[in-house]
Amino acid sequence: MADVILKDIRKTFGVLDVIKGVDLDIKSGEFVVFVGPSGCGKSTLLRMIAGLEDITSGTLEIGGQVMNDVDPSKRGIAMVFQSYALYPHMTVRENMGFALRFAGQDKAEIARRVDAAAKILELGPLMDRKPKALSGGQRQRVAIGRAIVREPDVFLFDEPLSNLDAELRVHMRVEIARLHKELNATIVYVTHDQVEAMTLADKIVVLRAGIVEQVGAPLDLYDDPANLFVAGFIGSPRMNVFAGRVIGASGTSALVSLDGFADKEIAVPLQGPVPSAGTPIRLGIRPEHFTDAGEDSLSITIDMFEHLGGETFAYGRSTSGETIVVTTRNGRSLSTGHVLKAGFDPTRALLFAEDGKRIR
């Protein structure tokens, strides 16, 4: 097992800066998930760790060794691709044993490792089939099996579940979590599925446009985002954000008024100094943090709602046109036009500066 350390890693494609200086410390045995919008450089960063893209500058260490110019096969990594990338002309067994056979392992050892992986992934009856004769989920399991057989220090996954249907995705997600426990492996996993990130990760890395916005445990990112981007990216439905300004201070709390809810004054407790009166701010409240109780409340006229059975998402608008989403557990009686008194606890509200930085 091995740590993975990235120091000021950069990547340019011609004139395009794709990764703009990433520092990251991945501990041995950790499950790290890269999330971020499409095109932010998740795959590129992962492929740089794998050795499939050159590193423009910075250093990459795996297991204490600088790996910048080491061949992918000698980095102690294995990669699972989005399209599975199984060799179509080989059977499942040949696919799984290929790397070892190629490295000159003896037959008995290859068979032992392939059989062990097949057992973990329940591939037994599929071993002599070609990939063409497998379902998507089975192909995915073979791809993971092929990685396991190599007994790598670090597993790299690039959106491994995005080609599967919803049900299989949940199933495979659980499988991957189980595998992580069983193999005690270091895993770097790229996804843009929030649920995958939240449920699998020990540590989430939120990327935007080639820059790390925040690194932290899933719940830390959820509870304590460093900026508006992370706050909006983690959590579903998205956090509600209201424009407003500071109108004063009361003890350590900032008194805030919102543009879309005139004559509303909210006291948001802060650890640090309160910004001066008049400072424009953004106030964030998660949809699920609205409750019937709560010290403060906003009156929201419902335009639309989505019943999910257990809970309901109610959509409304503030007077200044900001969309508001409220998650409620007793939303069956709602109707459009209904005015909802959405209570909230001001200690759960988050304050952001106009440039998006969190005000703590």
């Binding site: 492929r47 294995a78 691709f81 990338a85 060799y87 790397a99």
Partner: protein, 283 residues
Amino acid sequence: MTAISTSRAVPASRASRVLPRAATYVALSVAAFVSVFPFIWMMISSTNTSIDIIKGKATFGRAFSNNVANFFAQVDVPLVFWNSAKVAILATLLTIAVSSLAGYGFEMFRSKMRDRIYSLVLLTLMVPFAALMIPLFMMMGKAGLINTHIAILLPTVASAFIIFYFRQATKAFPTELRDAAKVDGLKEWQIFLYIYVPVMRSTYAAAFVIVFMMNWNNYLWPLIVLQSNDTKTITLVVSSLASAYYPDFGVVMIGTILATLPTLLVFFVMQRQFVAGMLGSVK
């Protein structure tokens, strides 16, 4: 416009369904006849005497064995076939090896010059062979290769058309497969040999059929560079029979049939892969 809308709106009557189909079949039959006729005529003529052929006799005659005997008497059949086979097979294998590597390279490696060089390669498709003939002949002459089979092989080996064909086919080759192979420890040439070639085998089969036919039937260039009888290929020999002072057309037909057989054989053996290759190797 009206015809279309009525036939859609009203449930099509029997006649309106049968007629267009009948027309299609008639057109197809005519096309089939036009393409098969020379072949049938070749078969029929091979059984007739030269005089009957000139008269235009279109029924089977009794001169077949006589024609065969004459052909074998006039032509050193094993030598001619050996020459043809050697040239066609070697040229085909070399062309496919070189051009598929080039196609793979053009698609897999990014570089600023890539598309410029590629356009240049495609541009050579527009230069007619007639314009290359004389300079090529002079080059071969300087290299002392006139009247050798190497002179036939060399100009055919890098085929812009086959490079184009392989590059197009390679677009369907998943790049993640190449990445997976790199992670598995393969070098570029090993990826090519152990992953690309087997995955693209129907593309190779189709290319083999096309290139083999081109080479087997190649006439003009061999006619120019092959001058002695012991190096000549079947196409040259048959055509020289036909252009003799008193050509025996029965014998010519036997030669034509023999010259056609190998390409037919290659096509029938590889028919399935050929069609698959034309449709794309990667599914």
